[in-house]
Amino acid sequence: MSTQQQKPETQESPDDSEMNGTESPQQERLEKKERSMVDERSADESDLEGDTVHIKVFRYDPEVADKQEPRFDDFHVPFKKGMTVLDAVMYARDTYDSSLTFRHSCRQAVCGSDAFFVNGKQRLGCKTQISELQQPVRIEPLPHQEVVKDLVVDMDHFYDQMHAVEPYFKDEDTPDASDLEEQRQSRENREKVKMSTRCIWCASCMSSCNIAAGDNEYLGPAAINKAYRFAMDDREGDEIKEHRLRILEQEHGVWRCQTQFSCTEVCPKDIPLTEHIQELKREAVKKNLKFW
């Protein structure tokens, strides 16, 4: 999202300065940006111009007496162009309250540690522009996971489900290293699994799925997507694929999905989760159908 906003600026700045000597290019750029963002802009535009962002952050800590009752803390953070939700909470932590706790690491949507519930939607803090959100920005820990402290949720269950589908390449059929130095994958097959390999284990999908919320045994979108990534990989043998489908077609596997598309909608990596789950359902049916 941030790259999209930067684009027009870098492309057009040289033109602007050359062609319109009288009007300041900065102003023009601002106007252009304003126009393109008008529909995404928050209702309260003056807040952004007045260069502070109002964020409300969920606070809870069972070990501190006056934080045992969950509450929201308000922070007013100076707005900087290109500021993300993660930048805002980091500023609040560094400047106002060093006890504000949240997970973050790479800040570029790769590590998957900073998934928050921002304005009612699961989003990656580092990938969400503050300027796109309505203020005040409500930042909460992921729903349907137990809160450990502030924005930190217990991820154990999510990781258990991920590991349950054996999310690693199995090489029982791999020929000897002397025969073959690399295991090639066809371009078509790579394209097929491409999107599913992008998962960063942020648990946004699991948190958005209300089937997963009601059924603790349900594998969840992320785990099924992980299984899809390997089940659809041609380099794995048929036996292993069958083994994977056996895990998935159990009661709490793919059949729990009721196609609400919540996961697909929140996935910060735009993985078509529902599509993958549906495809595995069809695979599971095909595997068991017999016409004789």
Binding site: P62, P70, G120, H144, N210, A213, T259, Q260, F261, Q278
Partner: protein
């Protein structure tokens, strides 16, 4: 880690304003499904009046149809059934993996179609009944 705070049911229906199209489609599909099951039982109850004889059945039907509220409920039943059918077709497409990118649009389309068909049916259902 010893203690953790669970936010309970507020995480679900307390957030209805934030639901997306797919979620609403799911809720409406469940709701209309249960309504249709409920209707099946009343339908059987009405039909079973025929066991006593043709007159009893005719009287039941005529008695019910003369009531304004029954006519209104019939319109509601049609709306529920039409939505369930249309959304069922949508889900069939989803299951076949067709047009998954347009799932929200097809949900809105089924809502609009339901509304049109329901409104168009009102004159027929309301024919010859007094409040």
């Amino acid at each position: 880690m010893s203690q953790s705070y669970n936010r309970g049911l507020i995480e679900d229906f307390g957030r209805w304003k934030e639901f997306s199209a797919g979620m609403w489609a799911w809720i409406f599909h469940k709701f209309t499904g249960w309504m249709l099951i409920g209707y099946l039982f009343t339908h059987i109850a009405v039909l079973s009046s025929a066991v006593t004889g043709p007159e009893a059945y005719t009287n039941t039907i005529q008695g019910l149809e003369s009531l304004f509220i029954i006519r209104v409920l019939e319109v509601g039943l049609l709306a529920v059934a039409v939505f369930h059918i249309l959304n069922g077709l949508r889900l069939l497409m989803v299951d076949l993996g067709v047009g998954l990118d347009a799932q929200d649009k097809s949900f809105y389309a089924s809502l609009v179609l339901t509304a049109i068909i329901t409104i168009a049916s009102v004159p027929t259902f309301m024919d010859g009944v007094t409040i």
